[in-house]
């Protein structure tokens, strides 16, 4: 074991860890923005309306993330039509290809988590809202969605952590995320054990960071459930 090799390459590994964190956060936020409307539409009473989110979720959950990222990066780049389009400045960059693939992937899983949570909101609460004279939109905004977010939170934190690990696939399309950086360092030092160990520790630290963030959100959303303390 050459421990010094970790220390020598730590700045680069941290650089990679930062890119990993960025990929997860950006695609997480974009994914959530897609997932919420997708989940709402998925709960529609009309089968024809439900069909689109169903196909979308089915496709992205049914294919490996590696295949999706290769399709976006190498697949789209093959067609001259895409290369001449307005989208090429975005699609020519590995960074945005990774963000696109991760966003679609995580939005499908998140939409399904939210769909389950929306359906788990007790019927009585919805009926109570109606009885108070709230319309459909207000009921969704004030009762169903806030309740559903709270129910979905533990499962959603799982999805974000899975996304963090999935982000290692960014290294296959030339990005120097934590895994890509580790592999590039190993290519020079031939010390896979030391460098992958260090990368593993950094992944664990990022996981703690994400879990900490979720705990804060959870405390805030469930603050009405905590016993009241005196003034």
């Amino acid at each position: 074991m050459r421990w010094s090799v970790i220390l020598e390459n730590l700045p680069q590994l941290l650089h990679g860890a930062w890119l990993t964190l960025e990929l997860v956060l950006v695609s997480g936020v974009l994914g959530l923005a897609i997932a919420v409307p997708m989940a709402i539409v998925r709960c529609s009473r009309f089968a024809s309306v439900r069909a689109f989110p169903w196909v979308y979720i089915y496709f992205f959950r049914g294919t490996p993330l590696l295949v999706q990222i290769f399709l976006v990066y190498y697949g789209l780049g093959q067609s001259p039509w895409v290369r001449d389009s307005l989208l090429w400045p975005v699609l020519s960059q590995a960074y945005w290809c990774a963000i696109i693939a991760f966003t679609f992937n995580t939005s499908a899983y998140t939409a399904e988590i939210l769909r389950g949570a929306i359906q788990a909101v007790p019927e009585g609460e919805v009926e109570a809202a109606r009885a108070l004279g709230m319309g459909r939109v207000v009921t969704w905004r004030r009762i169903v969605l806030p309740r559903a977010f709270r129910i979905a939170l533990p499962a959603y934190s799982n999805e974000v952590i899975l996304m963090l690990k999935g982000s290692a696939l960014a290294s296959t399309i030339t990005l120097l995320d934590l895994t890509g950086m580790a592999r590039t360092i190993i290519a020079r030092t031939y010390t896979p054990l030391e460098i992958f160990l260090a990368a593993g520790v950094l992944y664990v630290l990022i996981t703690f960071l994400i879990l900490g963030g979720f705990r804060l959100v959870e405390r805030r959303l469930n603050r009405h459930l905590r016993p009241r303390t005196g003034h």
Binding site: G77, S92, I186, A187, P192
Partner: protein, 250 residues
């Protein structure tokens, strides 16, 4: 008493293994399988190529029983160090860094590093390359050369396989690729590579390709070196060479 017995048995076993390494032994050889025409996997799933033919010829010469396995490039040296196989025959260049980690046989061919770019591009390796995007396979001497010589001025993109680098040059994401000349030569002669050409002279032309064995296993390295010499002398090497290139790459 027991411990003594154990030591004696172990010593005997080691001795036996030592002698077994000579006649009718098994040598596990790793290659990459994504580096045409040197090593690649054909439609039927079989590993083929110059490296593979050379490996088979050497094994026949050494009267050894060889088992060929494929291993991704950037894990190929760690796998050797950890004893997953005994030798690497995968177009590996001798470099000082690798010599710290493994022992090499005598070279079995020579390679050059040369840039390729689109035919209609005015890419010139001797000009200022500031701001260009150049691709290479990760963990190769080409990637190392780029990092050492142009690391500060160009954006180096590293690919898991050489095939992916060619794919990305074709999609227009790269200004140029630095790669082994003969691998590029094969691709430039294919349909996909017809719009590309070599640019400038080779930037590095003293690249010796050899067989890597575990560090300190000079016995196996020497057996390979002797076998290379033998197939070179009896014409087997030339027959394999002709199958892939119209010029001698030794």
């Amino acid at each position: 008493m027991r411990i003594k017995q154990l030591i004696v048995t172990a010593a005997l076993a080691a001795g036996l293994a030592g002698t077994a390494a000579h006649a009718g032994d098994t040598i596990r050889i790793a290659t990459e399988g994504a580096y045409p025409p040197f090593n690649f996997i054909d439609e039927s799933g079989e590993v083929k190529g110059f490296d593979v033919d050379i490996a088979r010829a050497l094994c026949e010469e050494m009267e050894a029983d060889c088992k060929l396995v494929t291993q991704d490039w950037d894990g190929i040296i760690p796998g050797l160090i950890n004893g997953k196989y005994d030798a690497i025959i995968a177009s590996m260049s001798i470099t000082p860094e690798r010599q710290e980690a493994v022992t090499f046989s005598a070279p079995y061919y020579s390679n050059k590093l040369q840039f390729i770019a689109p035919k209609d591009s005015d890419f010139d390796p001797t000009a200022d390359l500031e701001g260009m995007t150049i691709g290479a396979q990760r963990a190769t001497i080409a990637a190392q050369w780029l990092a050492d010589n142009l690391g500060d001025s160009v954006d180096i993109k590293r690919y898991d396989t050489q095939e992916n680098a060619f794919l990305d040059l074709a999609s227009g994401r790269l200004d140029a690729i630095l790669a082994d000349k003969y691998v590029s030569w094969e691709w430039l002669n294919s349909k996909d590579g017809s719009a590309y050409e070599f640019k400038g002279d080779p930037v590095y032309d003293d690249d010796k390709i050899a067989i890597a064995v575990q560090k300190g296993n000079t016995e196996l390295a020497d057996r390979f070196s002797d076998a290379i010499k033998a197939i070179r002398e009896d014409g087997t090497y030339q027959r394999i060479n002709e199958k892939y290139f119209p010029f001698d790459i030794y």
